[in-house]
Point group: C2
Chain length 201, copies 2
Amino acid sequence: MDKKPGKLFVISGPSGAGKSTVIARLLRSLNTVYFSISATTRPPRRGERDGIDYHFIERREFEKMIERGELLEHAEYVGNYYGTPAKPVEEKLAAGYDVILDIESDGARQVMKKRPDAIGIFLFPGSFKVLEERLRLRSTDEEDKIIKRMEKARQECQRIDMYDYIVINDRVETAAEEVIAIMRAEKCKTAERVHYLKGEC
Amino acid sequence: MDKKPGKLFVISGPSGAGKSTVIARLLRSLNTVYFSISATTRPPRRGERDGIDYHFIERREFEKMIERGELLEHAEYVGNYYGTPAKPVEEKLAAGYDVILDIESDGARQVMKKRPDAIGIFLFPGSFKVLEERLRLRSTDEEDKIIKRMEKARQECQRIDMYDYIVINDRVETAAEEVIAIMRAEKCKTAERVHYLKGEC
């Protein structure tokens, strides 16, 4: 086995689309995948653990990371910073692992520009009605934040063409299966496997 | 549900790559798929049934179908004609079914030219050594035909870039799973789903 680099999968979609749930589900089925843990300055929600759900860091430290160019992407969103530390991603890809990023659409655009080989997957909850219901059910946000998130979701929808795939998350199990199928299919692309075959010809 | 047309999947690869076995396996898992039955002038092998494995027809009738433009593709191979009747394929696609074609590489090229939206999957047995072993095990062919098939396989390998995906069939179960993943992923492509989403935005 040669050390073929892994592939980078960017999973994005509106807040409330169920990205975390779908990713948690698919990680249970895949063991050669590294899930990148984002850094954020927002306070932990109930049940969230530092270094597992996010790296929760101070605003000043986050700004230092931006200055040092240590982030693959970053964005400020509803008053908080979110970003992807570059080093662990690059290391895992080089070691042959596929890497999954769970990021907002501004960050997704930054990554897709920097790495045109990245595969973009847009997760959508099926309808805006369902999205709003989910945001209210989560009930960690105040009304003005929910309105902002809904506006943002409509904007994201307008830029859908930057993604390679769309997965409708009306059932977590099905959505996770679809993402797994996408990851598997991408590894079968001719460009991925032609070198092996050319050696045989 | 609107009547979105199905997608056309062309599965090709050298004789002996295990196309029939892999397709039989994946058809057991998929029920919205139509498998196109080819017409051929070659005599049935042991166990092959007319109208199920192939439409076994006379040389004269095959040539009439060519003249009437009733074939999506056709090729002469090791002294026999093989071809795909166009009508059932077009009808099933229009009715929303995905359609799988199992064809030799000359026919595959014809279909991919006529229908640039077709998805090409190249099935390969892992190595030429394994391929030769399989052809001998099948033992329905004489030595000169085996040599011809091996030559043809090497030629096909040179034109690999016309396919979208490569599936290595060293285990039927895995190969079938990969083809299923490819079919599923293709249905998630942004171009396939964007219309649904645009309606929501």
